[in-house]
Symmetry: D3
Subunit: 242 residues, 6 copies
């Protein structure tokens, strides 16, 4: 069996170069530019001293996310969602995924009655924007939490563990880690995996784009994802230590 | 370890009573009421002799789905989406899932330049509405295809295999098949699995509602789903033979 | 003059077979499937312990209605209003009519500061959906009110009288009671009449689709409507006694 | 029985002073300011050389109406519908009524494949805006048709008869013609009647605001409407002759 | 150089005939029909005893404006914004301009916590609708303020000075005051100027429609505007004295 | 008179440090990050081989702009316009201004029937975002045009001259060039000026935020703007030569 050859000589189980730049913009409590190769997502964390209605008076906080893509982040220009007057189903799916992923590692009671808004805006897209967004949003959220701790607004961190995400997929029979755009377009199966620093699953979303996939293929993909997320967790730690 | 006790003495790996009623309404080319216990979804298949823009002139057809819930399908009344003026993110996620699942077993070229619209409307909800919708929509689509074959509009079936879906989850440490509403609300991990008749995966969407889940837990859930979907495939076959 | 011949040998002044099924779904305080021949409408009554802004602090309650049609309730599929992002003018007209009709027999002060929402969703359409909706909604509202009485939340019924509705029209010169779809499409004049159990008018909406109609024709139509609504009131009573 | 005393000594069966001013604005093919007492509605007729999709290629034309109310046409300011982003159910009901009424006296085939848009904008409201709109729109439409005839674009008039409308109602037991705002607010029954010049009914829309109404009351109201519309038809003729 | 010849022998620096009719409609606290030649705008001022959220509890009032154009105010019919479901960018720009212009001469603290809504609706358009709207809205606002003073709701006027506006432009090399529609369509440069009674600038909005304009041209245009607005201020004073 | 002291010892007539980075993202035909001090705007130019309806078949092209601000580009987070479902009036005003400014230096016939979309997205805001957007969009448009020329799709440049923009204003009596956010918030008069490379005016938009401004003040502001835009034109040229 021939194996799919990746660009830049990348191995099947190798991440693209990942760069995490903290303090990318000045106003937000956390502001991170995360790059997975040519994919670039700006993740900001904004702290607001109130909560949505379903949390009012609960003593608990809330963590939520919004996702957007600049019109020319992609190969061909796509319509601006603000001009069309609504967010696409894809956008809503992604921002709900980011929000759930972040809440999975948050103790909302320890956050107190405040909201952390994570805005993930794709400046340049080359596959894996949602997984880059989750991985970067975690770092931005950590920066925002550190500011709350430093200001004495909370006494203990509400963050329970790391959370990071990666895409995996099968292209021409080869399971690959961290798909770039051309791989994503060609793949038979595409899976986004979100895991904690402890190595447990937060989200697994696998979709057969072409043929349905077997249990063995799924196992191979999950193994790749575990490896990649382990590496991303280390990169998050390094970025936060810098 | 204590095991969670289900209502009506149901075993952990047991489906609720499933009923599939074909010809539930008279106008649609396929019209199926599917019941998973108290969950009732009306799935209609409508054939239209045109395709959306991205398929025009391609010689290929299209299969798409819409999902809705009657305002009082649920314990407390929810707003009518038509009155609010937009579909929720949840609704859009579900209808995109149903559409992808159906297309996974369709040869769009064999369908010709026509569209099959699958409308899945929840009359009564008690957990598992999206998986009931997929399972029922397949039967409605099969009826619509059979009408096209009988009318000589297509010569060979565009349907490649069965597709069916089930939810699985972990409640108080016990992996359960086919969650009803009270179980769904209480579960730590919730997974929707879509599979073909051949036993391959079309979609796997697992979410940690509480604690993140381990690889072992995931394996247990997938095994339950395989069992349940195998049974659903048999029930689809029986309904279509009736 | 030749007289228009109806399907199934129905007489000009004869209702289609009417079936009223209470408790059709389990969650709503009132849930009624009403059938006028092939027309089937699910009417649910939901009680909410608050009122819209214009009634707040008034001590009075509110009764309101929403109407919808499943996309394939009709011969050819129509767009889903939730997906299009707005309700049609026709939908709004109908739900306003249902709401006014129900309020005509309600003592809102006796209801107390709560709202009864009547959701009328057409599962299958064959003419007369709005009149079936009004007739069925009354039964659902009665069931909801009986639950409030049984629970001691109100001491006396706020319902003053029955309300029911029927369509009448002139097809090829013949005045007909309870038009089905093919008759409705062919008629020159179409009138929807809503009356109380006491035989008084709540709403009369007559429209000349083709030629304008005379006072004599109008009188003939009103006489038919009175007969039909008298029969519907008896059927409501029987259903509520069952 | 005491009889309700109207303002300005008006008799129960008397119209308010009606003024019809043609050529009120300069751009439209027909432009009529119609006044029923203090109610003032500007009705313009605009001819467009195309038809909506359902008439394309049919050889037939279309007549349609839109209705609006300036925010401060009323006693207290109401929201601007353009700013709120949608037309109310009431607005849609009224503009559908005006459109149907106008089409009732139009031979669409004789109009040819063109559309007449009737815009009815309420500058000042004091009850009866929809009936004034219908009565004025007829005059504007006649002016637009006369321009088409004069320009040789059509050879024969597509207008088959006059159409006019009036409101009637029962206030404190007294049937009244042409309700002004204070009467409309106080009435038990409110009926809008649209008739042709030949004295036939186009639309009858009666609503019990308070107690349901009897057949005798309905007869009294219809008689009043017939009288009023007869007078309006004469006033239309006089205005068109001026 | 040839000089552009205006219709009706109007001089380059001459306003069109301006008419200001107070009390044009009966319900509003101020109601002014302003005419600049064939341009006619109805400006109403409505006083409301509350303020928008950003002023609540501030002790200050608010002055805001909305702008609309009847569909057939123009040579060819334009879509009704309420029917399309949104206001155009042009409409929003104009109503923001009117609001800012009015607030420039208001002492919001002296107004107290109330809002003056200025609704400017174009009945007939022939160029200069936004400048007519500002000039007329000032008179309507003055009438509304006088009613507040007369009623003792405020003790001193919150109005600090007159405000009025005019358009100027360069057509075929000639600077012109108060452009009518045909001039506006043909002009290279179009400028809207808003000034106080004291002769100071509130807004200057100049746009090169064709070639960019020089500083000298700008000076010529501003001089024309100063002359025109001086005359408008006198006309406002005369109208208010009438 | 005391003179307002600017941050970083900036002189009243001094621009903030301006940086123009071409090729900031990889997909767009032109992609420029422009920085005016802390204000950072990403301007992309996308070429599309079709034109909007009003230009179809005209042989001419079109140049248009859209503007957006990331939710946390500002000191406090603002709502995402895509999530709210509409663009604010401010956003629409700005994108219309950018579009008009760019078209002022474009020969649309020389562009041929294609559209250049200029997307200006504010990554970080500190005053002057619209003027930075215009200045940067020109460079992005030039890059896109150069690609069309290099590909032989057009033979001669459709760009007639440079266009650039700057804000000026009066703060505490001092006229200032290139306002940053704190100055903009405090200013009495705020003016945005757009000019060509030849030193002619394309747009002048002056607004009195506090007291109205005199002709002398306006002259002082225009002189500052001329100076600043002259410098920006040089910077554009340098960036394009790099």
């Amino acid at each position: 069996m021939t194996v799919f050859v990746r660009s830049a000589g990348r191995a099947a189980d190798q991440l693209r170069p990942v760069r995490i730049t903290r303090g990318y913009t000045i106003h937000a409590e956390g502001s991170v530019l995360i790059e997975f190769g040519q994919t670039r997502v700006l993740c900001t964390a904004s702290v607001e001293d109130k909560v949505p209605p379903h949390k009012r008076g609960s003593g608990e906080g809330w963590v939520t996310a919004e996702y957007g893509m600049l019109p020319r982040a992609t190969h061909t220009r796509s319509d601006r969602e603000a001009a069309r007057g609504k967010q696409s189903g894809r956008t809503q799916e992604i921002q709900r995924l980011i929000g759930r992923s972040m809440r999975a590692v948050f103790n909302l009671a320890a956050l107190g009655e405040r909201t952390i808004h994570l805005d993930c805006d794709v400046l340049q897209a080359d596959g894996g924007t949602r997984t880059a967004a989750i991985t970067g949003a975690f770092v931005a959220a950590q920066d925002a939490v550190d500011k709350l701790l430093a200001a004495g607004k909370i006494q203990a961190t509400p963050i329970l563990d790391h959370v990071a995400a990666i895409s995996v997929g099968i292209v021409q029979g080869t399971p690959l880690l961290d798909l770039e755009y051309t791989e994503d377009s060609a793949c038979d199966t595409d899976m986004n995996v979100v895991m904690t620093g402890a190595g447990h699953f937060v989200e697994v979303q696998g979709t057969a784009e072409g043929a349905a996939f077997t249990r063995d293929e799924m196992n191979a993909l999950l193994a790749l994802a575990e490896k990649g997320i382990g590496e991303l967790t280390v990169l998050q730690t390094q970025a936060l230590a810098a």
